[in-house]
Symmetry: C2
Subunit: 885 residues, 2 copies
């Protein structure tokens, strides 16, 4: 049997492998092979395959037969290509050794540089460079890296020796040590190495190489790497490749240099080479910031040939990779070498500009442009952001509930927020948690910070709906409402003190930090337009007011997926009537109070219908438990009693009677309508009157009446009968017909399990993934803050299921609802209104065939983009599977 090919050479313009062989060569190895094949000067080297790594482990940590011979043979090819020899006393080859798996992975082995140095080659290096200090510095670095990374010695052992040396020499910087000092240090390092490992530092470069390869392979099953794979579902049997590559030095004199750059401006996306360099320096020096890098024009001036070559290469690379690249190069003795190239990081604005420009340049097509835009980045464009150049003092971190940034003076209650804002003050509302009563204050504030609550707590949901920066569940802050201050560690922040919030990261920052304001550019509009060309899944908005509805239309919503009617209950005088209803002793009393609310609700609906111009509007009937509409503290109750002119005892008694152990699982949603049918009756009346009156005014309407918290088909049947009865009566009364349908939320496990039955009584479903996640996981979103972070930290769960849809559990429920629902009604309209519009979630929604996703207006653009990406990914997979047939 012929021996397998375990080692792939690259160098001299020809590589055994290519860029597509990531499985076998790892990402880095494949990239080096690709560049080599492009005739781009890359220091020669070779890649040991992942297959070799796997066989090594299957083989009780022995190299597979023939591998070492192939290493030696390829080493000879490298030596030949570079005109140097490993261990040679005249012209020694030095190499770097790096791990490189298919996926970039934390915990894999770091780079070992300068491998091949020993007493003999060191002397050769001194001679060759004429720089003793450089050579000894390289040697001591090599011993440190080899000792710590390859042999597992605590790096501190070497660092401390270095410190002692500096103390002895009375200097502060490593660079202040001379050649003599470093020679001494090398000696000490070797002694330390022997003390730690029980063996002398290996002089034989091949022995060094073997150890390094072993360490690269070994790092595949290192603790961190193994854990990372487990968490990310990366199979253990992928293995890692090992890259051995010739070292080049940019610090070999004035004819040498090094630099890094981007093929386009990573900040604006402008098409111009954006790079910096250093003459007679090593790559590390640029990174370490020891010397200030020069504009790339300096390279042009001082090493014009190398610059010309670089200019040719970066353009060639960009054309080849069809993307903006981040590159690293070194000029050794006048010769340019490319050390790395990868897709470059960029700002959101740059990402849009580059994608659009490249389409214009015919480098990429629109599909590729869409796939390249990162949804989270897009979000930045819709909100103020913290100036990246600003120095900030982060004092605490909460959950990033609603993106953007906000600066303002701290206030501790909603009333103050409104008062201060009326005086043109910018305020940040800080609360233990928010409740529907705080909405006015939240509106008035620039941003909201809460000590409790999770990603879908009241504060989070409302703030996202308002497009307002919000940080929640910041347990580190200790609020003392009575003193109007909060403390965190040793800081005490008082009312009126400035803080800055970063809702994208969850950071709470001391003082006023300058913000960058968002701007909806033409590029943005172009990307949205292109997205809609590819998107299959519908995009609707969660919007509760005519104002939100208008915003939703502006952002491109194709309808409203969720009108939360309870939000209308809080505005202005309505809350009074609502409370009157709650306090009523009987049905008659409730009906009387509800009659006061009806015209106001009707007005809202007319406003929303008018804005939506005939697009579908899904209106959810009252969902929260009634106690949410009463204040909770004794003081507030006393004020209310006075205001309502009822005995406070009665209010207290009612409040106590309504109290629930687990409100999430309590008397809410359609359960309210089972006990108090008059509430939903009033709401349907208001909706249908609004629809009929709008229709009479030539406004087209698309009414979808939605029943929340359905667990059994009989509930839906009873509710549907009621809705149809009233809808028909109102239409008859108004002598007009309007299209309307009655559907329900699927947000309880049992509803998903019995969706086939429920579908017989529902014209549409809306998957309420927030509550579905809560019931499927048995997890209260408002309480999860106490333990969920530990779950993520310890790797028990990969993501917060309230942010990224849990496909395994909640997803299974959703799939069940879709399959069972459509087994009864083939074309059943099924949406999702849980705000999950991140790419993974939308991809899943598209995959299981949902009709639309719905999210707050400010998240519509993200949904349009991720919807397009999901459709494109699906198409790609289909094309792939067709191709493979």
């Amino acid at each position: 049997m012929a021996v397998k090919k375990y080692v792939h050479f690259f160098g001299s313009g020809k590589a055994d492998g290519n860029g597509k062989m990531k499985d076998l060569l790892g990402g880095k190895g494949a990239g080096l092979a690709e560049m080599t094949n492009l005739k781009i000067p890359v220091p020669a080297g070779f890649t040991i395959t992942t297959e070799a790594c796997n066989e090594y482990f299957r083989n009780k940590k022995k190299y597979p037969a023939g591998m070492w011979d192939q290493v030696l043979a390829n080493l000879r090819k490298v030596e030949k290509a570079m005109g140097m020899k490993l261990g040679d006393k005249e012209n020694p080859l030095l190499v770097s050794v790096r791990s490189g798996a298919k996926f970039s992975m934390p915990g894999m082995m770091d780079t070992v540089l300068n491998l091949g140095l020993n007493e003999a080659t060191l002397r050769a290096l001194v001679r060759k460079t004429g720089n003793e200090r450089f050579a000894y510095d390289a040697y001591r670095r090599f011993i440190t890296m080899f000792g710590s990374i390859v042999m597992g010695i605590d790096r501190q052992v070497f660092e401390k020796a270095l410190e002692r040396m500096k103390e002895r020499k009375n200097v502060h910087l490593d660079t202040d040590l001379g050649a003599e000092d470093l020679r001494e240090l090398v000696k000490e390092f070797k002694t330390l190495y022997q003390a730690q490992t029980g063996a002398a530092f290996p002089e034989d470069p091949l022995e060094q190489l073997k150890h390094a390869i072993d360490a690269v392979f070994g790092s595949w099953f290192g603790e961190r790497a193994a854990k990372y794979r487990k968490l990310n579902g990366i199979p253990d049997d992928l293995g890692t490749a090992c890259n051995v590559q010739t070292m080049v030095f940019g610090n070999m004199g004035e004819n040498s240099g090094t630099g890094v750059g981007f093929t386009r401006d990573p900040s604006t996306g402008e098409k111009r080479f954006f790079a910096e360099c250093l003459i007679n320096a090593q790559g590390e020096d640029v990174v370490a910031g020891i010397r200030t890098p020069l504009h790339i024009d300096e390279l042009k001036r001082r090493l014009p040939a190398a610059y010309k070559e670089l200019d040719r290469i970066y353009k060639k690379l960009e054309k080849h990779y069809r993307d903006m690249l981040d590159i690293e190069f070194t000029v050794q003795d006048g010769k340019l070498y490319m050390l790395q190239t990868r897709v470059g990081k960029r700002t959101a604005a740059a990402a849009l500009r580059i994608a659009i420009d490249m389409v214009k340049e015919r480098l990429i097509d629109k599909k590729t442009a869409i796939m390249r835009i990162d949804a989270d980045q897009l979000d930045q464009l819709l909100h103020p952001t913290i100036d990246p150049k600003a120095a900030v003092e982060v004092i605490a971190k909460g959950l990033p509930a609603s993106p953007g940034a906000a600066v303002g003076k701290v206030v501790f209650n909603a009333e103050d927020a409104e008062k201060w804002a009326a005086n043109k003050e910018k305020v940040i509302l800080v609360r233990p948690e928010t409740s529907p009563e705080d909405i006015g204050g939240m509106h008035a504030a620039q941003g909201i910070l809460t000590a409790r609550g999770g990603m879908t707590s009241h504060a989070a949901v409302v703030a996202r709906g308002m497009g307002k920066c919000c940080v929640v569940g910041c347990g580190a802050i200790n609020i003392k409402e009575d003193l109007k201050q909060f403390s965190v560690d040793s800081h005490i922040i008082r009312e009126g003190d400035y803080i800055t919030l970063n809702g994208t990261t969850g950071q709470v920052i001391l003082g006023q930090v300058p913000l960058t304001q968002p701007e909806l550019t033409r590029d943005f509009a172009t990307i949205m337009k292109w997205s809609d060309e590819f998107r299959k899944i519908g995009v609707r908005a969660n919007a509760d007011t005519p104002k939100d509805a208008r915003l939703a239309r502006e952002f491109g919503a194709e309808g409203i997926g969720l009108v939360r009617t309870e939000h209308m209950f809080f505005e202005g005088d309505r809350i009074k009537a609502v409370r009157e209803m709650i306090l009523a002793d009987d049905t008659e009393g409730r009906k009387k109070a509800l009659a006061k609310i009806l015209p106001m609700q009707k007005g809202d609906f007319i406003g929303i219908f008018t804005e939506m111009k005939g697009l579908p509007v899904t209106i959810r009937l009252l969902d929260p438990p009634l106690h949410e509409f009463l204040p909770h503290t004794d003081e507030e109750l006393e004020l209310l009693a006075e205001d309502m002119n009822v005995p406070v005892e009665r209010l207290k008694a009612r409040n106590k009677a309504l109290r629930e152990f687990n409100p999430m699982l309590g008397h809410r949603g359609c359960r309210l309508a089972v006990t108090y049918p008059e509430i939903y009756e009033m709401q349907v009346q208001a909706i249908m009157e609004a629809a009929c009156e709008s229709a009479k005014n030539k406004i087209r309407v698309g009414v979808e009446i939605m029943i929340p918290l359905i667990a059994d088909v009989r509930e839906q049947e009873v509710m549907r009968e009621m809705a149809v009865r009233i809808a028909e009566a109102v239409q008859k009364e108004h002598k007009t017909r309007v299209p309307y349908s009655v559907g329900c939320m699927i947000e309880i496990a049992r509803a998903a399990l019995t969706a086939d039955e429920i579908a017989t009584q529902a014209e549409f479903f809306s998957l309420g993934t927030n509550d579905l996640t809560q019931t499927t996981f048995g997890l209260s979103r408002d309480d999860a803050g106490r333990f969920l972070p530990y779950y993520i930290e310890k790797g028990i769960l990969p993501d917060d299921p309230f942010i990224t849809l849990d496909r395994k559990g909640v997803g299974a429920m959703m799939r069940m609802a879709v399959e069972k629902g459509r087994s009864i009604k083939k074309n059943l309209k099924i949406g999702i209104c849980g705000e999950q519009v991140d790419p993974k979630s939308v991809e899943f929604c598209d995959l299981i065939g949902l009709t639309y996703v719905s999210a707050s207006p400010y998240r519509i653009p993200i949904a349009r983009l991720t919807g397009a990406q999901a459709a494109l990914r699906k198409k790609m997979k289909k094309d792939l599977s067709k191709a493979s047939v």
Copy 2:
């Protein structure tokens, strides 16, 4: 095409049908046919089939072709058999008309008696009986029944006329009216009839009959009947049969009589004829209690021939039906007629005795005996019951949370309960709701009454565990703790007042009612023994203490399915250490406090292992949220602070910090161990030390360590690793091996959905159907009391899912857990520990292949019985399906 047979005759010892034809003849019709075929004298008659009814409706309420002719033909057969003729002026036949579906159903048509009476036949009747009063009384009753039941006239119309007549005559009782008065009344009734219907009262008996048949058919789609069918899943297309039967009269003189009886003593089960009779009286008179019935010996004395016949018949019937029967008979002019026979109702004690006796008499086999025992009735035998002869004043009704009855003086807190009980007072503890702190008081009380909470609230679960009478969720009572009194309607019950609770019905009764004490008889033991012969599913107990464990063994438990370790946390001084643990600032502090708890927990486990003698013991690690261990009111906190010598502010702050929005979905179960691993570590340590020490003392142990609230396999993996690590260490330390396994609760929807993954890390599952019901339904058991009763009342849900397993939703989850779990481990042990041991639930558990059910010790006998019944039912179904192949 031949006309179908729509009418089945019975009479003269020969019936067209038989007892098995319930589908076609309905239950009543089939029974009459069966008796007739047994040569038992039954007044002749005929049954119109359910098929005729169905065709009638398909046919727009027209009789199917040929039916009326068959009615007339069969009427002639009846006339011939009885020697009388319908409408005959000499010897008129009178008939009764009754509906009779396959299943007995409320809302179906009542009986119309004396049909065939008109002016002419009335006179014949007067002549024949020589009793004018009797004849007119029969006539006015007929008009009332026909008018109201058949023609739908409000019965009040006739009742009021009767009242007016009595006023005019200045008499009090109907029987005080003479023949003259009744004749006058008949006249008035006819006028009223005409006024209401617009037509004269029909004189033609055939017209009367046709109307009556129409009414019987019509009642099938009556509102109540239709609703009942919908609720109980009875198909609409079964239809009802219609029975037309000759009237016989026991009030035709001293040679006539009537009676009712049981073939054995329905109270004790003793084998003796247990009947009463009246001479010269109608059946109605016995039922109405107008005259005091005589001992059956009176019949023997006065009508010996009839008695002899009766004696022969009841024995024959019992032998035929192989069960104790309830019979009704009439002697008309010396001739005995049987009017009805059906299986007789009996007390629990009688049920056991009869079943066992009949096995001895070889009338039935053991299987039949087991199937006949009603599980709920069996429960009566284990608890005191209210003397059925006592007159009671029920003042309120709550949920029947724990069966039995209790009498005592009312106290309003646990402390008082303990104090009063120490003074030999019997008390009933009345609380808004109970919490773990009340356990001492609950122990001390005879019974518990709460205003809030559902069937699985704390009070309910704990009381059932104690086998103590308990009524919960009694919303009608208004407790004023400060005044130590509660009110309900106009009653005010103060501390020290007597009340009586019926935990089997949920009734709250004023004052002291005499109770009947339970007695575990030899009959009981026999039934248990027989049950175990047939039962396949295992029966375990939920038991938390050595005392409970002993009780469980005595009741026949085959292991413990659930030890709730948290209950151990409350006892005596332990709660102090627990609170110290909760208040600790860091892991070290918690460990210190836990070290104090460890020896106490160990002691409990040793006690339980010792009692269980090697039977498996499933121990659930700590489940409730930590705040359950702290008191909640400010006063209690202040006392505790003093007691613990810590500032009350610190306690309050901790209490506030631990507060949760939805504790059910909060920081509990294994989530506690993710954040505070030391708690579970201590518990596993205590369990394994207890096991090792027991093993050393030659006590066999079967340890099953159970992790609660698992939602993802990774949780179980982490917990299992911890448990195995500690278990191995303890065994090594003790130099002994004990069998142990680690499993988990499946009580969250997501666990059921991913049970295949979880099974890789679990050696057993226990289905926690309480929490599974809560999460599947999105329903808090503690809050459901506010709306769940409406659901049952309005027929939206058929049962309280916390009492009877919801097969459709929760059952689907259970099935999923079993199938997925066993797809990985074929013989995975899977139990259920949710206390659902009612026949329907156990049948389902048996059906899906659960290994065992587990319930509190007092419910073990029910579980043993229902387990046997489930196995027998399964076998019967199998045999049936085999037979049909």
